[in-house]
Amino acid sequence: MHIKSFHFNNKIIILFFTIIIIIGGLLRFADITADPPGLYIDEISIGLNAYDILHTGKDQYGYSYPFAFKSFGDYKMPVYIYLVSFSMILFGKTELAVRFPSALAGTLTIIVIFFLTKKLVENENKMKKHASILALLSAGTLAILPWHIQFSRGGFEVTVALFFYSTGLLLSIIFLKRNRLKYIFLAAIFFALAMYTYHTYRLLSPLIVFIELLYTTKNKKYFKNMLLAFVLFCFLAYPMISFSLTPIGQTRLQETSAFVNNPYPQGIENNLADGIIFFDNYLSFFSLSYLFHTGDQINRHQIANFGLLYLWQLPFITAGIYFLIKKTRNNLLRFSIFILLLIAPIPAAFAVPSPHTLRLLLSAIPFSILTAFGLYHIFTLKKPWGKFIIALTVFFVIAESCYFLDYYFIHYPKTALIDWGGQCKQVAQDIQTESSHYKYIVVDRNSDCIPEYFMFYIPTIPLVYADAEWRQPSTWKNKTFLYVRPFYGNIHPNNLIYNVYLSNTDHDIFVQFLRL
């Protein structure tokens, strides 16, 4: 069994490609409303703003079709929220509607990476015949990649931004082969869209367009078209660039700046320390422990003790880098992969915490292609132990995937319940059940669920939020009401209706329902 002896005709390629898309789609859509187990705070904000935009044309704060959504003061980029508005036309104000654009973009990125790899490899003489196999390998790797699955299943803007960005890359590569203006114009539009979708792409998109401009300087034919596309990109990006220079536009940067930890307030030490902080942060994204074991330790970004990539990928990524440097004569291929790998951590290195998995998602593309490269080249080595290596790889791919799936679908909903706001979803559902028995429902403000959760899950039920000074209004005329309060340690207080136990591992009591 030798990979080079395979003669894949188009039908077989299409069959495998379809299977990969189906698997990728299933991994991104299956049980998406229950796992992750609740909407986290940013998803709630996205959902509420999207719903308001759809029905009133205004955001939570009353601004008509805003350019950046104030949200919790972090000024979210607009594209994802408008996409969720469209999604709400189909699915209503539901968790599915909030996550649908992300899961769809995640699935579509698998298709994009297939064509991106194919176009990149087609120029390489040695691999030309097997461009489709390499493309299948990289699409397959991305389809089962824990990192990409994790972000596709949550309402993360970054997944959609990655889809736009990778489509822009694909169109750029096609332009570099055919020199048609329409491709690079479309690429410029997609790069600009990525900028309007997630914060890090405000830097990554201009950077890649500028690099492409520099890349074509030697060839006048290409350069002329590229320059036109550059002008178009500047025109499209201008509102975002000018917004980014305003104090509001810089809010996000200031909130997450890595340089606030600089122990030296001024002088040359301050500049040197800034440089070291950036350099150290940048290197942290290439840490093996981070990539293959610990991740960034934020439960929403990963499952415990499981890195961004599978351990089996490590030898193949190493081999991929080796073969790309030593055996490839295709400069465009080499240049594209390494540029992507090197620029992806730049915006994230300016911010804390570092490393940060969400901000690095662009690296999933070069890592998947490198893995495919390594797999292809190692499988095509004419060595007596070739079959053994293939069998061993298949075993590890299946074993680690099973392990990931078990953790993700069985353990994760319990271990990450609180990180995803699942406890507030549970409380909202219980309030809805009880609401028919009570005219008034009071929620203690210390119960760790911000009012936005209830506005999303149970918007029709009027709630009163009580702080320490709250007293029963005289208009209620001593009627009983439902009081939702945090658990203060007494399992059976007076007037208890029931304790709300969480469905996490420890079955903690989260709040108590009292009849007062």
Partner: protein, 194 residues
């Protein structure tokens, strides 16, 4: 010039390494003891209520977790951040270069084989016998191995010396020195302080 640069990088590596003697233990993700192993298995099976026993036994057992956890822990010692804190940025660069030459051109070099084998075996003893080995000796062994690998890599890198190569080494040396003096406690992400 070459000799001077190698000597300079070695001094930087020693300066970075010296800071580690204010630690008394590596951080917990740099070793994998039987306690960690047991805790991970128990933690995993806690969530498996309602799952068939066969599946639980197949996916969460000590053999699998030892193999998997040890590999993950071993990666900690090859972490670019750990190495850059352990022997400076320039030292970490030397290790990466040595690995590159080992994989490409110097795969028959016996010294490299010995050094790389030790660099893999020694962390395993750290993982398994962690409470019983004095940290001072561990540090010394790790330090010698990684410094030797790094100096080999750097000297190999400068065999066909060009201005670019010299510039890279000088720039990394400056960054390393600045980092050592500006952030003298940066290793505490990887070790426990005395």
């Amino acid at each position: 010039m070459k000799f001077f640069l190698i000597l300079l990088t070695w001094i930087i590596e020693l300066l970075a390494f010296k800071r580690w003697f204010s630690c008394w233990l590596f951080n917990n993700f740099l070793y994998y003891t039987s306690n960690t192993l047991t805790a991970r298995v128990i933690d995993a099976i806690n969530n498996d209520r309602g799952m068939p026993h066969l599946v639980t036994h197949m996916l969460h057992n000590k053999v699998l977790y030892f193999f998997w956890g040890s590999l993950q822990t071993l990666l900690g010692y090859w972490d670019i951040q750990f190495l850059s804190s352990f022997i400076g940025f320039v030292g970490a660069f030397g290790v990466v270069i040595a690995l590159w030459y080992f994989l490409t051109k110097d795969s028959h070099n016996k010294l490299l084989w010995i050094l790389f084998s030790l660099s893999i075996i020694v962390p395993f003893t750290e993982m398994v016998f962690q409470p019983n080995v004095i940290f001072f000796w561990k540090l010394l062994i790790f330090g010698v191995i990684f410094q030797a690998i790094s100096l080999y890599g750097l000297s190999r890198f400068l065999v066909e010396a060009t201005t670019l190569k010299y510039s890279i080494i000088i720039a990394l040396s400056i960054i390393s020195i600045v980092a050592i003096f500006i952030f003298p406690f940066s290793q505490y992400a990887f070790c426990l302080k005395i």
